[in-house]
Amino acid sequence: MAHTAAAFKVDYFQFLKPDGKLVEDQQVPALARDFDRLTELYKLMVLTRTFDKKAVALQRTGKLGTYASSLGHEAAHVAIGAAMKEEDCFAPMYREYGAQFYRGVKMSEVLLYWGGDERGSDFSGPKHDFAWCVPIATQCLHAAGAALAYKLKKEDRVAVTVVGDGGSSKGDFLEAINAGSAWKLPLVLVIVNNQWAISVPRKKQNTAATLAQKGIAGGLPSIQVDGNDLIACLWAMDKAVSAARQGKGSFVIEMITYRLSDHTTADDARRYRPGDEVDEAWDREPLKRLKAYLVDQGAWDEQQDEELLGECKKWVQQAADEYLEMIENDPQPVTAMFDYMFAELPQDLIEQRTYAQEYAEDGGHH
């Protein structure tokens, strides 16, 4: 006896082409006509990119530490944020500012974090969202745990997490898929495949046709979308989040995009990445195509665009000023490294804290 025990596929979706035209060969989701929503998100994408530029500039002038740019990922990130409700939980990696801004994290908080100040992770935004997660892919299991908590507490909440193409190789992500399957968790796992993990190209992570198919390991619905197409990203996220909320379990979405910047400001991608690959990728970038579409549909125009850019620059400058003001005039005291270790500080740390205060002058920021 031989039979097929199970069959699967991974479908790919793109609705908005790089030239700003909708695809012709298929039904486009209704949200492609929701110009209010699309322009709102377009604005956030522009803000995110403006912010990004500023952050890099601050780093280059010695006012910020290492910074991970989100250049080129704006559609993916903003869609992730936009599909979620406030009470949902976001477990980001480290560059999903677009999603976080949507959810209420302040730009100055992002700067504080990369500026080496823990107060950046004390979000104004959803208090239950996870902070940035440096140990790659560990956040996926935190999201799975959050999802299980909501399920146990019978709360109507969804956990959303993001991992990179590189991070998708890590056991934590794969165990999170399995957990999503085991408990039918309200969990959305997004792979933002930007083709590079620092200097390691996508094809070295594995030789499979897609990264989305990792979800098949747990029998999860798994799809690919054009990660530079806001409409496709948002449609996929809406679908996944609402399925999760309805108790249908977990979902894997691979968003295919491109890291237009260096990995972080500490990296120099020219060492390992051909320049023409980057040039070509600019043709597919997410802002230009969404703007072209909105303009084409009469939902947006050049003048609005210029005004928006001006406003974004103003907001970003305000955030930078807030940040600089805080680190200069209200830096964290040496005691701050003790005060949040435990709800109540144990005796040995009380003593170390007192001692540290005696040396508060030493080891100033250099």
Partner: protein, 326 residues
């Protein structure tokens, strides 16, 4: 009031904590219907059901990582690692997240979870079932490390661990799971997690230990007392944070100290205690501080495991050696 064993003290505390807080859940391999491979969660599944006593897939990274996630969102996981050796894959999430969540977010989030597991050797178990990794966890900022050595301390410290707003590593000395019975009232009284417990008062020498080695240490104390010596025995019980004050106060009186540890010697908790004495306790020492420890080797398979562990004779000899110093 029932006479119970150490493991029954654990179970009684778990049941109590689950009753008083609906957010407390058991989370681990075989903790459900099976009640745990040592029966520590026996009866809990019957009583509290599938949603509170949760059998997980076989994946320790997942157990630790999801516990962090759950703890941050209003559930209190009491995660079980089935054996001490299988906590190694969990270290990443304990070190990088459980001990850091509160600090990282300036108190916006916290991680009130317990990771409990049977620890130490001496029960004829296979490889990786007999390690004593307390020093690894004790070196990690932001987590407490607790090891009870009696039924009442198992009960009182487990309650404290579960109620604590921060992560606690709770190591259960499996060799003495069923060693002694004690009357323990199920009165919900927790014990403090920041003090050492003095088991016996004495003036000639201080023996400091924790976990299963309490057994051999008390036996060694008996032998020494039969020889007319007055022996103080301290059960550290909470190796991080460590109550050095009680130990130093004792050594101030006795002037002599032997520390007994089952784990390998190099960079163990015994070394931390000896270092504390070399600093704040030095003026009171009449003799070298001796550590009687496991060897710096892999815990042998069971046929030789008791040869690895500090024996009563090794403890007595070390004590005598420093008692001879005048």
């Amino acid at each position: 009031m029932a006479e119970i064993t150490l493991i029954e003290g654990v179970t009684m505390a778990l049941a109590r904590a689950m009753e008083e807080d609906p957010g407390v859940v058991m989370f681990g391999e075989d903790v459900g219907v099976n009640g745990g491979v040592f029966r520590a969660t026996a009866g809990l599944h019957d009583k509290f059901g599938d949603e509170r006593v949760i059998d997980t897939p076989l994946a320790e990274v997942m157990i630790a990582g999801m516990s962090v996630g759950m703890a941050s969102q209003g559930i209190k996981p009491v995660a079980e690692a089935q054996f001490c050796g299988f906590t190694m894959p969990m270290i990443d999430h304990i070190m990088c997240h459980a001990g850091r969540l509160r600090n990282r977010t300036r108190g916006r989030m916290s991680c009130p979870m317990v990771l409990r597991f049977p620890s130490g050797g001496g029960i004829h178990a296979p490889e990786h079932h007999s390690e004593s990794p307390e020093a690894l966890f004790a070196h990690m900022p932001g987590v407490r490390v607790v090891i009870p050595s009696s039924p009442s301390r198992a009960y009182g410290l487990m309650l404290a661990a579960i109620r604590d707003p921060d992560p606690v590593i709770f190591m259960e000395p499996k060799r003495i799971y069923r060693w002694q019975k004690e009357e323990v009232a199920d009165d919900g009284e927790e014990l403090p997690m920041d003090v050492c417990y003095t088991l016996r008062d004495g003036n000639d020498i201080t023996l400091v230990t924790w976990g299963s080695m309490v057994k051999e240490t008390l036996q060694a104390a008996d032998q020494l007392e039969q020889q007319g010596l007055s022996v103080e025995v301290i059960d550290v019980a909470t190796v991080s944070p460590l109550d050095m004050d009680t130990i130093i106060e004792s050594v101030e009186r006795t002037g002599r100290c032997v520390i007994i540890q089952e784990a390998p010697k190099h960079c163990g908790v015994a070394s931390e205690i000896a270092a504390g004495l070399a600093d704040a306790g030095i003026w009171h020492l009449h003799a070298p501080v001796k550590r009687v420890c496991g060897y710096d080797v892999v815990m042998p398979l069971y046929r030789n495991e008791m040869k690895y562990m500090p024996s009563v004779r090794r403890i007595v000899d070390a004590a005598k050696e420093i008692l001879e110093v005048s």
